[in-house]
Amino acid sequence: MHNNEVRRLPNLGFGLGLRTDHYDSVIAERPDNIDWFEILSENYMVDGGKPLHYLDAIREHYPMVMHGVSMSIGGADPLDRDYLKRLKALAGRVQAAWFSDHLCWTGVDGTNIHDLLPLPYTEDAVSYIARRIKQVQDFMERPMLIENVSSYLNYKDSSLTEWEFVSAIAERADCYILLDINNIYVSAFNHEFDPQEYLDHIPVERVGQFHLAGHTNYGDYIVDTHDHPVIDPVWDLYADAIRRFGAVPTMIERDDHIPPLRELLHELDRARDIARPILEEIAA
């Protein structure tokens, strides 16, 4: 069920996840080596005060995309209409280029675990989730990206690989993929697969954004903690991803032990330095 004509999403360049710690620096310094910000949608689904004040002030100078954690697109509960209404209002407010959420579920039977819980990789789940993504995209009137999550277990129900699952849903829902390079690395370690094989099976034209982040290695397993700089093997995997997918908007996520903005900008420059020669080589 391939869509032959998939329009690629615009290349916004190199961005960062907007965090409260950096509000003042961003406004005061207005750095020109951040091309765009990704906002955590739920943090701005409030009525007023500081969150929306800073959001509007920063949006004046930077394009934004939205990244959610609570849609539970793979959850068995019905889609939350109130949530989607607020999400759409926020997308209008920041004129989001697109919105994303995770290919996971976050709770069931009315509970929200506030975690990105793993799905069984089955044909049934592909159909169910693709149908829901279509509903969400129709309602939101904007492209949706689904992100591959880090996971720590696999179900016996699964009959597909993770990359088959992600690709099939994107094709069938006609949506895009937010490819988290670190999550591929983490899950490859936890489930003992080859991250390169993962990359090689993701449809090029579906990938609209990359995430980069750090993690914590506990020896037997790795947890996607977003509290460290990106490690070298993930940078290497990023280079492989640029080789395969070309110029894709790239951003760094940091959610804990958040360093000063300039430190993250330095890390973002490393992404630029990795991507540039590869893209030049491809162009030549």
Binding site: D47, G48, A76
Partner: protein
């Protein structure tokens, strides 16, 4: 119920500690057992919510310390799994829970501080509304005063405090050593609000608390003055009531002066 729904319900009950039904569903590997894989999720769930409560109730966390605060969190998390799509709202029943759960119920400052901190959060991101300025009061004709009613900021919160919990929160915000909890003679009225981006709280004397609560219930200025007879000599009422209005407007609390009947 779909297979997906059954699997997710099992998973969730396992994380919540209600049952342990997931083992048969998960693939084990040599490196990592099924138990350990499930525990990664179960531990992350509790840790995430505890961190959220530590943040939402920063003064209570400082006052009780890691061990006691986390023990309260464990009980609360078991009793109240989250339902809202935003974790920002987690802990909305923390004060009520502490009020009715031993041993915290024997230390009423715990629930009182929790209630105070939750109301601060509500003021933090409540809807913005443009405050009226004193000039608008000056433009009123004397005949309009008795009938005027006020509308107040959506962020405005009222709370009664018997303990020195506002001072405790203040000390924590300013990084100072906190006093031990001290009980006052009787409950005192407090007002919490936000002016532009800054949060404020202050105590109210009985008269102002009465007048503010009545004004928020849509009493007219004339009705406020009538009621104030109970509290002060007649000749002082007009000046006092006008003073209150100016104070409320100066604090940015008032969003509309309504003069229609």
């Amino acid at each position: 119920m779909s297979r997906l729904h059954i699997l997710q319900s099992k998973f969730q009950r396992t994380i919540l500690g209600a049952e342990d039904m997931l083992e048969k569903e998960i693939v084990a590997t040599e490196r990592l057992s099924v138990d350990r894989r499930i525990a990664i999720y179960a531990e992350a769930y509790r840790l995430r919510l505890t961190e959220c409560l530590r943040e939402n109730y920063s003064a209570l966390y400082t006052l009780l310390g890691d061990e006691q605060f986390d023990a309260l969190c464990r009980l609360y998390i078991d009793a109240h799994p989250p339902h809202h799509y935003s974790i920002r709202w987690y802990g909305d029943r923390f004060a009520e829970f502490a009020r009715h759960t031993a041993p915290y119920s024997g230390h009423p400052y715990v629930s009182e501080l929790a209630e105070f901190e939750w109301k601060l959060m509500e003021a933090f991101d409540a809807r913005d509304a443009r405050p009226v300025v004193l000039d608008e009061l000056a433009q009123l004709a004397p005949s309009q005063w008795p009938g005027l009613r006020l509308e107040f900021q959506p962020c405005l919160q009222r709370v009664e405090l018997t303990w020195n919990v506002a001072a405790i929160r203040n000390a924590v915000d300013e990084g100072r050593t906190i006093d031990s909890p001290q009980r006052g003679d009787r409950p005192a009225a407090w007002l919490i609000w936000r002016k532009r981006l800054t949060q404020y709280f202050r105590s109210l004397d009985d008269t102002e608390a009465w007048a503010l609560d009545r004004a928020r219930d849509r009493a007219t200025f004339g009705e406020l003055c009538e009621g104030l007879c109970e509290w002060m000599p007649d000749r002082e009422i007009a000046t006092y009531a006008a003073g209150l209005l100016k104070q409320w407007i100066g604090d940015g609390l008032v969003t509309k002066i309504q003069t229609d009947p």
